[in-house]
């Protein structure tokens, strides 16, 4: 299996390299920090003849995603990328893409939503899109980004799923840091992703169809229910595809990664890049005989409720660390976790934490104090904030 190649690269460039190997039919994009490098690198591939894709430079993110939807329903394999306010400008079109069952694969490089303007990571851009009907997968590192892009093409286009995918990675932390990455050969990737077989391509003029026609109360509800079925099929189809890719890569990513959580008493639930620090702290605590563990939530849509309930069952305490807030409500991950654990016969206490907004650093000592809270049984009704400057705080590091 010497056709694999090891390189040093970043999350953005890993995404772009996967795009080169996939060679999608159409890419329409409007670059924005920190996802800029994805369309930038891909435009270079297109200009240098490394791909056969049609690269469409557009005048806004709204146009980018609109062009993607048009190309996708025409029958093309389509990819794009964006971040933060760019994602927000696309919002109107996301539910349309999902209803049209347009299997677009989207590199969402997480960045805080303005104002104030801030280019660093949190999940306030992707979380507002959680109800737009797209699959959301959150990656911890560049390798996972690369592998997930390949999987997402097959997942999105599978006839049982037909749903667009956000492949999320943390802005700068994952998107710009270089790390070793193993690439599959171009041939292996091409064989794995195959060709898109569109169900009702708009360009098939022998079998004309229209998309999204006016539908009032008589069928709108049924169409939405039919759409939900695609999402319901995601996790079983994903399991098949992930097992197939594992044969090539030797890597398998479950919907929720369990890190020493099997026999743990106390667990932290977290997403994306900050999971690494938590895993280190779990190792340290284990050395001291404390049964700590971590659950890294990879799929946020569909939310793996059953998997989570099975993994968190019987724990003495769970801390949910959200990298975005729902101002006036429960933070997105905490709300899902509480809801999934509610049906367990034995109550698992859950504490909500908000961390890392606008790129605020998250340290090992923060994870230590969260585990300390759980062990001492310190629970509050309202969320706790990690690394926030409080009045009379002796912590001056920010």
């Amino acid at each position: 299996m010497s056709d694999k190649k090891k390189i040093m690269t970043s999350g953005n460039l890993a995404f772009a390299e996967a795009m080169r190997q996939i060679d999608p039919d159409v890419v329409a994009a409007y670059p924005i920090t920190p996802s800029t490098e994805i369309p930038m690198k891909f435009a270079e591939f297109a200009a240098n003849g490394k791909v056969t894709s049609e690269y469409i430079a557009v005048e806004s993110e709204h146009s980018a995603i609109s062009a993607c939807v048009g190309a996708s329903v025409a029958g093309a394999r389509v990819m794009t990328a964006s971040s933060a306010n760019g994602v927000a400008l696309m919002h109107e079109i996301f539910p349309i893409a999902a209803s049209f069952r347009a299997p677009i694969v989207f590199g969402l490089v997480n960045r805080s939503l303005g104002a104030p303007v801030n280019i660093h990571c949190d999940h306030s851009d992707s979380m507002p899109e959680r109800d737009s009907g797209w699959i959301q997968i959150y990656c911890e590192d560049a390798q996972e980004v690369y592998d997930t892009v390949l999987l997402s093409v097959r997942l999105a286009e599978d006839s049982r799923v037909l749903t667009p995918v956000f492949v999320c990675q943390d802005g700068f932390i994952t998107s710009h840091c270089y790390e070793p990455l193993e690439l599959l050969s171009d041939e292996t990737v091409k064989k794995f992703v195959g060709e898109r077989k569109a169900l009702y391509p708009l360009l098939d003029t022998d079998n004309p169809v229209s998309y999204g026609s006016f539908t009032m109360s008589e069928y709108y509800f049924e169409i939405k229910r039919s759409q939900m079925e695609g999402m319901n099929n995601v996790l079983p189809v994903y399991a098949e595809l992930a097992a197939e890719l594992e044969k090539e890569t030797g890597r398998y990513y479950p919907p929720i990664e369990s890190y020493r959580a099997d026999d743990a008493d106390y667990i932290i639930l977290i997403m994306s890049s900050a999971s690494g620090v938590v895993k280190d702290v779990v190792d340290e605590l284990r050395e001291d005989g404390i049964k700590a563990g971590a659950l890294r939530v990879r799929f946020f849509r569909p939310f793996p409720r059953k998997e989570l309930a099975a993994l968190a069952k019987g724990k003495r305490g769970a801390a949910v660390l959200d990298r975005s807030a729902s101002i006036g409500g429960t933070s997105p991950l905490a709300a899902e976790v509480r809801s999934a654990l509610y049906s367990l016969e034995e109550h698992v206490p859950v504490q909500e934490y908000i961390f890392g907004l606008g790129g605020r650093d998250f340290y090992a000592e923060d994870a230590h104090s969260v585990f300390d809270d759980l062990i001492k049984g310190r629970y509050t009704e309202t969320p706790r904030f990690i690394g926030l400057l409080e009045k009379d705080d002796k912590n001056e590091r920010a």
Partner: protein, 117 residues
């Protein structure tokens, strides 16, 4: 194609087969009805051009002959653009129940959401 009876039967992806609006009874929205005085009409086709639906009916000689009430939604544009003052708009309530169902020139049975399925 028979109409879907449950969510499992609606076509995927909001697709409407045939890509045609010819079976969609936009006439169900109508609360005012245009009536053409064919004596006054000079068959200039202005109403035919401006009508947002396929409602202006023509005869075998290509003359404007009436309104297809299966499609006509009563927007009144035709009356506004007519240079011969040949179209008058009446409230739908002035017509008999039977007449309201289909109308003289639009007797096709309606299909709500005909484009689904």
């Amino acid at each position: 194609m028979s109409k879907p009876q449950c969510w499992q039967e609606v076509p995927l992806a909001t697709v409407a087969f045939g890509a045609s609006a010819l079976k969609v009874q936009t006439g169900l929205w109508r609360s005012s009805r245009p009536v053409i005085d064919t004596e006054k009409c000079i068959s200039c086709y202005k109403c035919w051009l401006q009508c947002p639906d396929d409602s202006i009916a023509t005869d075998d000689e290509g003359k404007v002959a009436g309104i297809n009430l299966f499609f006509c939604k009563g927007c009144g544009i035709c009356a506004k653009v007519c240079p011969a003052d040949a179209i008058a708009i009446y409230p739908e309530s002035e017509f008999s129940e039977e007449d309201r169902e289909g109308g003289k020139t639009g007797a096709d049975p309606g299909e709500v959401g005909a484009h689904v399925g």
